[in-house]
Subunit: 399 residues, 2 copies
């Protein structure tokens, strides 16, 4: 443990927003607001870009009612960024930090953001600049390592579950094939959440395709045909990141001129192309009158009307804890959740983990959460994920 | 007023489901459940198709807790249909009604369903068969005539408003152009609801395109360019039904092999093609890095996590009132809402209107609800539509 360190602090938000990323922001601000050793808490506009452009907001001056309203609002209130700092970028960050006597840096984001925090931290060490760097996790993808789950996932999972619950009843009302494309570039966590609202084996989604299990078009068509014959309808939940048996992403085959972001990620969302392709495939090859597709897109991370209260509380806690760790003299790390109980005893506690343990690599859905047939989830997954939604609406059926 | 009529009753649900169509169903069932002059209330599976196939459920036998759970559940619990009965179809309906001593027919649906009810009623009259036919309105499109608004619209409007509220914050977090495609084949009511959550002139949606005002691609691009220059970002809410200055639907130009349903309606939803087309148009013609599109699709009518409590109560009332009108000796009609107050005094009362006054033709968004620039709504629209959502979440911002 290092000594208490007097200095200013910077906080930023990065990567794709979530419905609770502002809870973590407000968690940091409220925890630090009355701490005398931190004179200024600078909010960086649009993440690291706001640092190098010295585009800051004095967060200590924001009234509590505003902060509380912001906490309940989706997306990054400070603005986000997709920038990934290189050595030159980081050098500029240090110059700004030194000029402004900044010795605490809180960065809310996913694995790319943890990597950014790690790089900034290493460069600070090399430069002999005393900087305490804390990463606060967020991602609807739920694919960060170490932590039991990620703030942001519970609300996105709730959105997906509520969408499939209604869509299953819609599909039962006007039977046919319905294809729902769900976010998740490499990991099937969010697509798996499509199963959370099922109450009966006849309920959809009847087929759940996740990137962790390869699937070829012929096999998918055979699966749909089997469900159609059994149930007269078929609801599919498909991850945007599914790959064929050769390991090539379906989306890559479909979108020829795939846009890539600064981290080299293929841009899969914000287009209905994949859903349309799969619908056309089913129309062409199977005898079914009604085939429809929806691509849930950005609503999954930003919908204002259906946020998990559990997710909100946990994201706030993660922000609070980052400050607590920093003030307790820790030099750096990422806040992680450890589950203390499940079912009615559901609970978490926070632990601090090394930045490098979260940066870069991600965590796939483990085998124990994927059904042996490869196109469904297990009961163990439901037990894992359901508490994170804070509860789902009750569904009533006549049949 | 006719005499009290002893006989069985039939209830059915038709057309595209909504989040509260089951409230109206349960409103009819609970109102009729203990009436001795109606021995059986037959629930027709999948609307008129369930009648000719004699696929019925005895609704009086369903326990109240099941009914209450069904009422809170989106989509048609009895199943829906797109069938539009012709003379032969109606003849079969009469045969079934006569064989089963059915003298009350309650049909929940939109303008197509009102037309179905009207045709069945006329054929019953011609055949000298005593039938009391009541239409209960539902449609997320809100385009039925006579009634102040339609059950189903308030929940869909709430979904669209919540989506845009979050999406506006997302777009502010990672600036660029975002295109949201919203349901509404001929009328802009639902697209207009995208404005309900705005709290500030800088909030999106910055451009709202409704079918009531023609728009050409060049004009849309000029509008987007102007917003981008002013705000550095642009959020668009676009009805799937917009038409160019020649009166041709954009979707028609895009989707060459447009699927049509039995009523001759072009199938616009269940495809991301229109959103993708508009995004590509903006990418090609304007200098902007980030362009994304979402097509809200079926979530607008079926999302289980964000239903308007006002809409729920009113849909239930409409079901109750249909029975009340029937038992009071009315021969036929459609239940309509009349607004009794607005703002904090918001309220409605039910009136009975002729089937022919609701059947077939629809109601566009009136000129007083569309801004003079043609791509926004007026304050009068906000005052009209906001109470129907039952309230929206509070949004907090730092900027």
């Amino acid at each position: 443990m290092a000594d208490l360190l007097k200095g200013n602090a910077v906080i930023g938000q990065s990567g794709g927003p979530t419905c609770v990323i502002n809870q973590s922001l407000v968690g940091v601000v409220t925890a630090i607001q009355h701490m005398p050793m931190v004179e200024h808490l600078f909010g960086a506009r649009h993440g690291v870009r706001g640092i190098i452009e010295e585009n800051f907001v004095d967060m200590k001056k924001i009234p509590l009612p505003t902060l509380e309203a912001v906490a309940n609002t989706p997306a990054a209130a400070l603005g986000s960024t997709r920038d990934k700092p290189d050595a030159e970028y980081c050098k500029r960050i240090f110059e700004v930090f030194a000029a402004r006597d900044v010795h605490y840096f809180f960065y809310i984001g996913g694995n790319d953001s943890a990597d950014t925090a790690r790089i900034v931290n290493e460069l600070a060490d090399q430069a002999g600049y005393e900087l305490r760097v804390f990463h606060i996790p967020k991602t609807i993808d739920n694919d960060l390592r170490v932590t039991d789950h990620c703030p942001g996932y519970g609300s996105a999972a709730k959105f997906v579950a509520c969408a499939l619950m209604g869509d299953d009843r819609d599909n039962a009302s006007l039977p046919g094939v319905k294809v729902d494309i769900i976010m998740g570039r490499h990991a099937g966590w969010l697509t798996a959440a499509s199963a959370l609202g099922r109450t009966d084996p006849s309920d959809g989604p009847h087929l759940i395709y996740m990137p962790e299990r390869k699937i070829d078009p012929d096999q998918m068509l055979a699966d749909v045909d089997e469900v159609l014959k059994k149930r007269g309808r078929c609801l599919l939940a498909i991850s945007e990141g599914i790959e064929d048996s050769e390991g090539v992403a379906w989306a890559q085959r479909i979108v020829e001129d795939g846009e890539r972001d600064a981290h080299g990620n293929l841009q899969l969302s914000g287009s209905g192309a994949m859903g349309d392709y799969i619908c056309q495939l089913i129309r062409d090859k199977l005898s079914v009158n009604r085939v429809r597709g929806d691509t849930f897109g950005y609503l999954q991370r930003s919908f204002a009307g259906c946020i998990s209260p559990v997710d909100q509380a946990e994201a706030r806690l993660a922000g609070n804890k980052a400050v607590e760790y920093a003030m307790a003299g820790n030099l750096d790390g990422s806040v992680a959740f450890k589950r203390t109980g499940n079912g009615p005893d559901y609970g978490i506690e926070c632990v601090l983990t090394e930045l490098s343990s979260v940066a870069r690599d991600t965590k796939d859905l483990p085998a124990e959460y994927i059904a042996p047939n490869g196109h469904d989830v297990t009961e163990a997954f439901i037990e894992y994920a359901l508490p994170l939604t804070g509860g789902l609406p009750q569904i009533g059926k006549l049949f």
